[in-house]
């Protein structure tokens, strides 16, 4: 997952304000939070910045994968322990005999499910962050290998 600093280093760093932000650093932050689009930075699309732009686009691919709740899963870092599945308050409520009791989640469309040894996002529609706009971080908190992240915390 790229940090705002990683992005900033590749921006024109002129603080030209064309994107509507006061500084390039602030633009970098909003880019990661998906509040700004890369196209908003006009100078970056000049030929002289082409190489840097491509690097940023590569970095943003991860951000693109982020779900509407800002949840990002990095499968390479996941060991498939299922802590996130079992601690999820929605899973516990909707599937007390399955995920709530430690078993594999039995919901047809859970928020998360471990498939082929790694956690996959199935349906964020149930997530408290999505429906109730609650800041719940139970899944991320119980992942010691940082396979789960939330955009706003980066």
């Amino acid at each position: 997952m790229p940090s705002p600093m990683d992005i900033y280093k590749l921006l024109p760093k002129t603080n030209c304000k064309l994107c509507g932000e006061q500084t390039c650093m602030s633009f970098a932050f909003k880019l990661i939070k998906k509040e700004k689009k890369l196209e908003d930075c006009k100078p970056l699309f000049e030929p002289e910045f082409e190489e840097q732009r491509k690097k940023i686009e590569e970095m943003l691919k991860v951000v693109e994968k982020a779900t509407e709740t800002g949840l990002v899963v990095n499968e390479d870092l996941c060991i498939g322990c299922g802590n996130c599945i079992v601690v999820c308050p929605v899973h516990v409520y909707e599937d007390p005999e399955g995920a709530g009791s430690g078993f594999g989640v039995r919901l047809e469309n859970p928020i998360l499910r471990v498939e082929n040894g790694v956690v996959r996002v199935v349906d964020v529609g149930l997530c408290r962050r999505y429906k109730e706009k609650t800041i719940c971080v139970a899944c991320r908190e119980n992942c010691p290998t940082s396979a789960i992240a939330f955009l706003e915390e980066l």
Binding site: C78, I79, G80, C81, G82, N83, I85, V86, V87, V92, P96, G100, S101, G102, F103, G104, V105, R113, V114, E115, N116, G117, V118, E141, N142, P144, T145
Partner: protein, 378 residues
């Protein structure tokens, strides 16, 4: 299709398999199934390709010619296969070792000299949960989510943040230790014996450090607390089990956190056969064996160099589904089935609960059949 995972001694029985999709198994277990066809062993005699029956015959010849044999491994074999191995051991007076250091504690559990319980009971009743000298997040990834800290149980309905208290003891801040957050404590120690004595002192009302006192206060809130001990604890204890047993009796229950899939089955088979557990490393140092049958184990990937070097001086018979460092150096290689994936039978979980495997495929040769053929040949 439901599957019982044989990736570690959790033996998770809630795994679903649909073609090439494995659900709920961790990275280790899913990989065991998905990568089953990769790096398979071939029957070999002196490095040359042969057929399985000839390899078995050659193994029997070697065994007949040897003076002193060690049978090593068996942690990935079913109880049925382990029992045949014990019969071979009796027949030719062979030494038997699975490479696990949990033998003494397992025997104490079987003799009921140390209180133990089941993982289902832990889920339903346990309050304070110790992970002592074990990084289960890595060695048995679903241990905490499936059986202990995270799931809700009968008397533990309010979840880990309120209904459990986690204690992680280790020499380093392992991934498991990182999970010790709210209602939890991580105690870093280089001296397990000293920490156990400190706990005993505190339990009797004496002076101890803040963390120890805090844990003791929590221990007193429940009559069901459990200690999971791993390789780090065993190493730390050396041969001094007396204080540890006293500590466990004060706390509640002890369950071994030995990740080796059917290690407890091995100890039970050994115990029932009345065979003392040998230590292959010691046998090699004392030059007491001239032949070893290695079953589903790769000692070159687990034994210190100096000892492993001595192993290579022996006649080596390797029975394994996959190519390993040891199989590369063996005199005879007999390919076998992956227990639980390609052959069925029973195994024993880390808490001594017997589990029936649900193989997805069938294989002509498995550990039990190969060992039976060898036994008959002898």
């Amino acid at each position: 299709m439901m599957w019982v995972c044989t990736g570690c001694s959790c033996l998770c029985d809630d795994i679903e398999i649909e073609g090439d999709v494995v659900r709920h198994a961790c990275r280790i277990g899913a990989g065991l199934y998905l990568n089953r066809s990769v790096a398979r062993a071939e029957p070999l005699i002196d490095g040359k390709r042969t057929d399985i029956d000839s390899a078995i015959e050659r193994a029997v010849e070697i065994l007949k010619d040897s003076k002193s044999v060690a049978i090593y491994g068996l942690n990935n074999s079913t109880l049925e296969a382990q029992k045949i191995a014990m019969k071979i051991a009796e027949k030719i007076s062979a030494y038997v070792d699975n490479g696990s250091k949990f033998g003494k504690l397992a025997e104490m559990i079987l003799r009921k000299e140390i209180p133990s319980t089941t993982l289902e009971n832990v889920k339903d009743y346990a309050y304070v949960i110790f992970y002592w000298g074990c990084d289960v997040h890595n060695s048995m990834p679903r241990h905490m989510s499936r059986y202990t800290y995270y799931p809700r149980g009968k008397k533990r309905q309010r979840g880990y943040e309120e209904d459990r208290f986690l204690v992680v003891v280790d020499v380093r801040r392992s991934h498991t230790a990182m999970l010790a957050k709210k209602n939890a404590v991580f105690i870093k120690t280089d001296d397990d014996g000293k920490l156990i004595r400190e706990f005993l002192t505190a339990l009797e009302g004496g002076i101890a450090s803040g963390d120890v006192l805090r844990v003791v206060k929590e221990l007193k809130k429940s009559d069901f607390n459990v200690i999971f001990g791993g390789g780090g604890l065993i190493e730390g204890l050396g041969n001094e089990f007396e204080e540890f047993v006293r500590f466990v009796s004060n706390v509640g229950y002890f369950i071994p956190a030995d990740y080796r899939t059917n290690s407890m089955g091995f100890f039970k088979s050994l115990f029932e056969a009345g065979i003392p557990k040998a230590n292959l490393e010691d046998l090699l140092i004392d030059e007491k064996v001239d032949t070893a049958i290695i079953v589903g184990s790769d000692p070159l990937n687990s034994m210190p160099f100096d000892v492993a070097k001595r192993l290579l001086k022996l006649k080596l018979i390797v029975i394994d589904p996959k190519v390993s460092f040891t199989s590369k150096m063996a005199d005879v290689v007999i390919p076998s089935a992956i227990s639980g994936v390609e052959c069925g039978g029973k195994m024993i979980r880390s808490d001594f609960v017997e589990v029936e495997l649900k193989p997805i495929f069938k294989s002509e040769y498995d550990d039990a059949k190969i060992l039976r053929s060898i036994s008959e040949g002898l």
